[in-house]
Symmetry: C2
């Protein structure tokens, strides 16, 4: 586990431990580090994974635009990385962030605020 700076070599080693899908992407689940809420799910390729760990400005890979996507670069609603984990199967990333503004492009706080399909109460 690393605190502070993490070397490019260490980042590359962590990425090589992951199992990307056929498009070279790994799903990343993003949570708010203070409220613990799940904010969104997006995808990372090796470059976005590396940039996220180097810059601490969370960067995804946009499948619709086929390019790196620095979260908030247009809206200003950036995400500052607080923690990054990999799951037991090495095919999912979990990150905790400090979210500026809202996470969702709809203006909702999270991308899951819109459609509540079912709730016990």
């Amino acid at each position: 586990m690393h605190m502070g700076e993490i070397s490019l070599a260490a980042i590359a080693e962590y990425w090589s431990s992951l199992k990307p899908n056929e498009n070279g992407l790994v799903p990343a689940i993003t949570t708010d580090h203070s409220t613990k809420q799940v904010l969104m799910m997006a995808w990372m390729n090796e470059e976005s994974f590396t940039k996220t760990l180097q810059t601490k400005n969370v960067t995804y890979y946009s499948r619709s635009r086929n390019k790196l996507w620095v979260k908030g670069e247009e809206s200003g609603n950036t995400q500052r990385l607080k923690e990054l984990r990999i799951d037991c199967d090495a095919d999912t990333i979990l990150i905790a962030v400090e979210q500026k503004g809202e996470a969702c492009h709809t203006g909702d706080k999270t991308c899951f605020d819109g459609v509540l399909v079912w709730s016990e109460k």
Copy 2:
């Protein structure tokens, strides 16, 4: 939004609002309803989505075994559905569950306990 029972017709309508990947699957992020922790990420097809909402016993689709996977059917570590949401892009499911025992087959409480890549502190 539904509470209590939800009809098959309503379930089918929610599924048809989703955008499954080329294999007919949608990623499902599973959280613990009391601790808010992210427990795991797995996949659902239409049948597992339907069974989950009908039975409230969370059921995924196992990509490695190519079949429905009632979580905990072998280990006893079942997940009782508390809430199910769909994200703004209609390509991710978020569920909250009551987890019996540990979520992870490694014996960890969550599937993200093993590899902490980086933390601010």
